[in-house]
């Protein structure tokens, strides 16, 4: 794949982060030696192409007071996974939901992340959600006890 040098440098800048200034696109344009309009148009293009999933502020939950972070892993029959994944995704407390492969000794194929202001609250939310949808599938709660690293991905 041939990547245009401007595309490449803009992608890098967008993954590193823009400054919080009045005219962020003009700032970026000056850094990259292009016009403000070119920067804006390219971000629009990346978004329309689906290359950018989301553009805006990336937050750290822990620092905002949402100190509990629980990865819930489920063993869902393959036939039902679409339905259950959709139902979990529609819950306000679920911030991520993915299907992943099972492995030997690891039967769980559906992962979702729940963030909350405390462990008790997260457990309560999950319990309520399970009862409401009658989710009688094997699952485990993996609360995080320590964060060693958290930042955006770097590809370029």
């Amino acid at each position: 794949m041939v990547v245009d040098p401007f595309d490449h440098r803009l992608r890098r800048a967008l993954q590193e982060g823009l400054p919080l200034v009045s005219k962020p696109y003009a700032y970026l344009a000056e850094q990259l030696g292009v016009t403000e309009q070119e920067v804006i148009a390219k971000i629009e293009e990346f978004t329309q192409q689906g290359l950018i999933k989301r553009f805006g502020m990336v937050l750290r939950h822990h620092e905002l007071g949402y100190s509990a972070n629980c990865m819930v892993v489920w063993d869902i029959p393959d036939m039902e996974i679409e339905t259950i994944a959709q139902l979990l995704s529609d819950e306000a407390c679920v911030t991520l939901c993915y299907q992943r492969p099972r492995r030997q000794g690891w039967p769980y194929n559906l992962f979702c992340m729940i963030h909350g202001k405390g462990r008790d609250l997260v457990e309560q939310q999950l319990k309520e959600l399970i009862e409401r949808h009658q989710l009688s599938y094997p699952h485990q709660l993996l609360f995080s006890s320590k964060r060693f690293k958290q930042r955006g991905a770097r590809y370029v």
Partner: protein, 149 residues
């Protein structure tokens, strides 16, 4: 960190579809009926306290590279050492200890599959502990921001 109602309103608004306007904060200021200066100062403060990780783009992993979620089952007393080694890779962007036999969970991102495997191979060569490699099969709800309440 104490968030005001105004903070929550602001942060809920700017995690996605951030205005692509030459003066985006001025536009937001009009919508929220506060001044552009107030918004910028508050966001700079949240950034300096690391509540804002960055103002930028979240890219689609599938489209720009390859990634996986991996887990290691590490003896409790060695977790700091193993986590520190895992952190040395620039390809690793998330690394958490979790309450499970598989107690170290990390995300590896690279421009291609072989880049991801290279990192996992190096970790496996250094520490001979059970390792799970769980690349995404399908994403149902992926990093769409986080509603604050």
């Amino acid at each position: 960190m104490k968030l005001s109602d105004q903070d929550r309103k602001l942060l809920n608004k700017i995690q996605k579809n951030f205005p692509l306007h030459p003066e985006p904060f001025k536009l937001l200021a009009e919508e929220l009926a506060i001044s552009e200066q107030e918004i910028l100062l508050r966001l700079q403060e949240l950034e300096s306290q690391q509540a804002i990780s960055r103002f930028g783009a979240v890219f689609n992993h599938h489209r720009v590279g390859s990634s996986t979620l991996a887990a290691l089952a590490v003896p409790e007393q060695e977790i700091e050492e193993v986590a520190a080694f895992v952190n040395t890779f620039v390809e690793v962007n998330h690394n958490y200890q979790r309450e499970h036999d598989y107690n170290l969970w990390f995300v590896v991102n690279a421009t291609d599959q072989s880049g991801v495997e290279r990192v996992l191979d190096k970790i496996a060569a250094k520490f001979d502990y059970p390792l799970l490699n769980l690349p995404m099969v399908k994403g149902y709800h992926i990093d769409l921001g986080f509603p604050l309440w």
